[in-house]
Structure formats: structure tokens, C-alpha cells
């Protein structure tokens, strides 16, 4: 277990009572505004001292209030991208970026520096002070500052909320690489399901200071009963291998023997990817689809139907590629006569799978 957190803390507005384990990879804290996400992250960073806490990172006890252990923040070597920037106003962007290295007496690796700067698109800002940056620029510098300190764990508190989709799409692969290549575990806060689905190995859903659900990403996000931030968070994760890249800009993948066509992905043939399929993007068809613009069709069998409170229902379809979720209306369930055991096709538009939905696979994603 990479990180193990158990804490109890009373705040004026909320009592936090949280325990979860974060295995290697990315653990996303998911929950509504005010649920206690930042507070948990602060405790892990050593900035909030809870009434009671036991926090263990890779075997090292960071905090154990019972035994009076409290490792100060600067000894934890945990990088933190704050929700509100917190850049040093007296240092220019360059000095902000290398602060973590300088202050710990480490040399700046020019290549790593250049890579981070390029990825974040902040090359033109290096000589400026934070006061002269736009909101998104500040946030990008803050990400770079945490990354460049080469921490043994990263805390990311809504790191991409201030960024546009294009910029997000540029930064996400970089975070994946840090997760996979450098093996830096991350604790990540977000309210964007796509971001969570793409990055997270484990999802911890917080509600009003408590853990509502915790587990592997695929299991948690495909749980239709669980919609803390709205129904659009529900989706399935499929594991697929890149087969080929085609001239018309599509990549062909193989998911358990089923062909999937996606807008060109960056990974080379042979690479294993995780593809998030949002439940609301999947259409079910009783027969094989014909004359449809959607290129992806996964034959399967209805495994489970979950009728919610609203007009919708989540239909889980077992396919060769894995379990796919589809959010349909109750009316459609009735109209098509869907029930467990019924054969059907899960139809998915190629373009529904946005760049942010496709991530590099990080170890096994166990389903439920």
C-alpha cells in the first residue's frame, strides 16, 4: 500500500472522518464542493494537523497522533499543487519553478526543466513575476513548480480546473507519464469525471467529510448508484491494445478481440491503453447496427440494469472487451425490452471518445 490515510478532524462546518488506502498510481478524491477534499490533502501534506490521524507513506509513518508522530511538511517530500496557486510573489517564474531544487540544494536538470516548461507552455513567462500572469498561467506554473521538486508523491488539488480543454489535453499525458514512468504516486482532487477516469487507479468518493465509496476506478465510476457530482461521471474503463494507426487519422485498437476505432492516439502499436467510455455516450441496439455513422459496435449481453430515481437507467452490457455501461432512459428499457440475458450491441461513436478519455494504462485496473 503506497499511502494509507486515516483521520478524524472537527472543523466548524464539517467533521472529517476519513480512512482510505491509496495503492500505487493515482488516487482521486472525488466529491462535491465542501466535501473535505482539500482538508484531506492538507493533512497528507502536513499542513493541517487533524485531531486524530495516522498517515503512512510507503512504509514511513508520516503521522500517528496516537504515538505523537507528526513529520513536518518539509520532511515529507510531497509535492503539492494548491487549489489557489500560491506562487511566490517575490520570485520570477523561473525561480518559482526551481525553488524546490534550490532550497534542498539539488542541481537543476536543464533537460527536465525544459521539458516541463515546454509541456506547460510557460516558456515566454519565465522572467515574469506571478502578479503579471493570467489565472491559467499561474496554475500551470504551480504545476511545474511541484513537478520540478521531484517529490516522492504528488498532491494535485483541482490542478486543471482553470485550464481550457486544449491545455488539459496537453498536460494530462504528462501527468500520466509521471505516474507510469517515474512511478510517482499521486493524490488528485477533481470534480471532472473524465479527468478522474483517465488518471485514477483508485477513486475515493467523499461526501460531507466521509468516504462514500473507495475502490478501483473502473468499479467506482461504473457504479450507477454513485453520482456524487452528477450522472455524467458514470462510465466504464476498457483496456485496449493499439493495433495500428490508419491514414484517415484513426487508430485501431483491440479490446479483448473487439475492434475499436478511436481518433489517433499517441501511443505506438502494442501499447496498452485505458479507454473511458462514458455511460451517456453509449447507445444500445438490439440488432447489429447498419447505416450508422458510429464505427464501434460491441456485441454483448445485458448483465444488469439499474433503474435510478430519475428518467434514466444504467444498463451494464458484458462484452468481449469488458463490461460497458450505457445510460438510457427507462422508456427505452421498456421499449426495447431490455433485461438481463438479452443480447444487444453497445454502439459508440468514435469521436465520442475525446483525447481526455484515453489514457495510458497504469497497471491492472480491476473491475469492481
Amino acid at each position: 500500500m503506497t499511502l494509507s490515510v486515516a483521520l478524524h478532524h472537527a472543523l466548524p462546518g464539517l467533521t472529517l472522518d476519513v480512512a482510505f488506502d491509496a495503492p500505487a498510481g493515482v488516487t482521486s478524491l472525488f466529491g462535491r464542493s465542501g466535501a473535505g477534499k482539500t482538508s484531506v490533502v492538507n493533512a497528507v501534506a502536513g499542513l493541517l494537523r487533524p485531531d486524530r490521524a495516522r498517515i503512512v507513506l510507503e512504509g514511513e509513518v508520516l503521522a500517528d497522533t496516537g504515538r505523537g508522530i507528526w513529520l513536518p511538511a518539509h520532511k515529507r517530500r510531497i509535492g503539492y499543487v494548491f487549489q489557489e496557486g500560491r506562487l511566490f510573489p517575490h520570485l520570477d517564474v523561473r525561480r518559482n519553478l526551481v525553488y524546490g531544487l534550490r532550497v534542498t540544494g539539488r542541481a537543476v536538470d536543464d533537460k527536465a526543466f525544459a521539458r516541463v516548461v515546454e509541456m506547460l507552455g510557460i516558456g515566454a513567462l519565465l522572467a515574469r513575476r506571478p502578479g503579471a500572469l493570467s489565472g491559467g498561467e499561474k496554475q500551470r506554473v504551480a504545476i511545474g513548480r511541484a513537478l520540478l521538486a521531484a517529490p516522492r508523491m504528488l498532491l494535485l488539488d483541482e490542478p486543471l480546473a482553470a485550464l481550457d480543454e486544449g491545455r488539459k489535453a496537453e498536460i494530462l499525458p504528462y501527468l500520466e507519464r509521471i505516474r507510469d514512468e517515474a512511478g510517482v504516486p499521486m493524490l488528485h482532487v477533481s470534480h471532472a469525471a473524465a479527468e478522474v477516469a483517465r488518471l485514477a487507479t483508485t477513486v475515493v468518493v467523499l461526501e460531507a467529510g466521509r468516504v462514500l465509496r473507495a475502490g478501483p476506478t473502473a468499479a467506482v465510476l461504473s457504479d450507477p448508484a454513485l453520482t456524487p457530482t452528477g450522472p455524467r461521471a458514470v462510465g466504464a474503463l476498457l483496456i485496449a491494445r493499439v493495433v495500428a494507426h490508419h491514414d484517415d487519422g484513426l487508430s485501431e485498437l483491440d479490446a479483448g478481440g473487439v475492434r475499436l476505432f478511436l481518433p489517433r492516439v499517441a501511443s505506438a502499436p502494442g501499447a496498452e491503453l485505458r479507454v473511458r467510455i462514458a455511460a451517456h455516450d453509449v447507445i444500445l441496439s438490439l440488432g447489429p447496427p447498419e447505416g450508422l455513422s458510429a464505427l464501434n459496435s460491441l456485441p454483448g449481453t445485458v448483465a444488469e440494469i439499474h433503474i435510478g430515481d430519475g428518467p434514466g437507467a444504467i444498463v451494464a452490457v458484458e462484452t468481449a472487451a469488458g463490461r460497458v455501461l450505457s445510460r438510457v432512459t427507462r422508456r427505452s428499457v421498456a421499449r426495447l425490452g431490455l433485461a438481463p440475458g438479452i443480447a444487444c450491441h453497445a454502439i459508440l461513436k468514435t469521436v465520442s471518445i475525446a483525447a481526455e478519455d484515453v489514457g495510458v494504462q497504469a497497471g491492472p485496473v480491476r473491475a469492481g
Partner: protein, 230 residues
Amino acid sequence: MGWLGPEEWQAVALSLRVALTATIFSLPPGILVALVLARGRFPGHALLNGLVHLPLILPPVVTGYLLLLTFGTKGPLGSLLAEIGIVFAFRWTGAALAAAIMAFPLMVRAIRLSIEAVDPKLEEAAATLGASRIRVFVTVTLPLILPGVIAGAVLAFAKAMGEFGATITFVSNIPGQTQTLPSAIYAFLQVPGGESAALRLVAVSIAIAMLALIASEWFARRAGRRGGGA
């Protein structure tokens, strides 16, 4: 040059030396005490705060007496220090000590105010980047409080240039050794007709202080050129 006698030039030079020494040497303890008062919560807080302000509250003569009793060669601290070769009595160092102590409350207040205005969130951010407490202080807190430190230093310098009562009581007035500008000015004012001579020295005093002020404003502006918050 002609309008100041050699003894007066001596007083000018000495005053500068005394004020600079007082300012420079009181900066580190000034910052430390300001830090402790701004951030510390301990039983003796009010006492320390009071102690620091004492030279402001007491008539300077009283402070001078107390210095004499404490740091004189026969005083408890004075005799101890004398053994390791540090003597204040009748030395310019004593004048610097008196000036430093008189200026201390002003310096501490300015620095303390600046420390209280520092956003602790920035210090937290520095800690998460691996900076130890002391590194955080040097790389974040100190640069951010620089305007306050400069303000404190310039206040201390000005006060040290003007300090007279405690200084003359403690180290008296020995031309070339402890005769500072203010003692010289005071002396001129004690005798009928000494006004014009006093005025000349006052002018020198003001000129020096003005230069110091302008320099400090310039530094503070440079340090503060942050273009707004983070």
C-alpha cells in the same frame, strides 16, 4: 568643508559610524524578536513585548542610567563582557549600544508588522517544496518582509542619528570617541549665542538622514516591485 571644524567633522563621522553600527547589529536580533513576538504564543510574550518597548517609555536619561548600571565596567554584564574583551564604557561602541537599544522598539515594530502581513500559505507552500523552517524564512519570509526590514532599519538609523539622552548619560561625551552629532548640537544650545553653530550641525544631520531615507525608499521600492499578489 570650511564651515565645519575638524572636531565637528569628527562628530559627523562618529555619528555615522555609531548609527550604522547600531542599525546593522540590531537587525538580526530585531528580526528575531519581531518573529518571536509576531508568531510566538508563550507565557512571557507580554513581558518580552514590554521589555522591548521600555526604551521608548522611559526618559532617555533613565535608560542611560540603566545601561550604565548594567553595561558599565562594574556592572554585571559589563564586567562579564570585559573579560572577553568587549568594553562599552566611554567607547564609541557604547554609543552604538545606547543608540541600538533606544532604536530597538521602532525596528522591532516595523519588522513585526511586516511579518504579521505575510501570508502563511506561502510559507506552507515552501515547506511542501522541501524547505526547512529556516530555509522558508530565508527564501520566503525574509524577502517578503524586506520592506518592513528596510523601514525598521531606516527608523533605527534615524533614531540612532538623533539619540542623545541615553548616549551621553551612558558613555558621556569624549570628543573623537563618544561625541556624536546630537551631543555636539546639545552643547552648542546650552550657551547663549550657540544657535548658529548648532544649526550648522543640524543641517548636516538632516542631510545625512535625508540621504538615508531616499536610499531606503529606493530599496524598498525595488524590493516591493512585485506587480501585485500571487
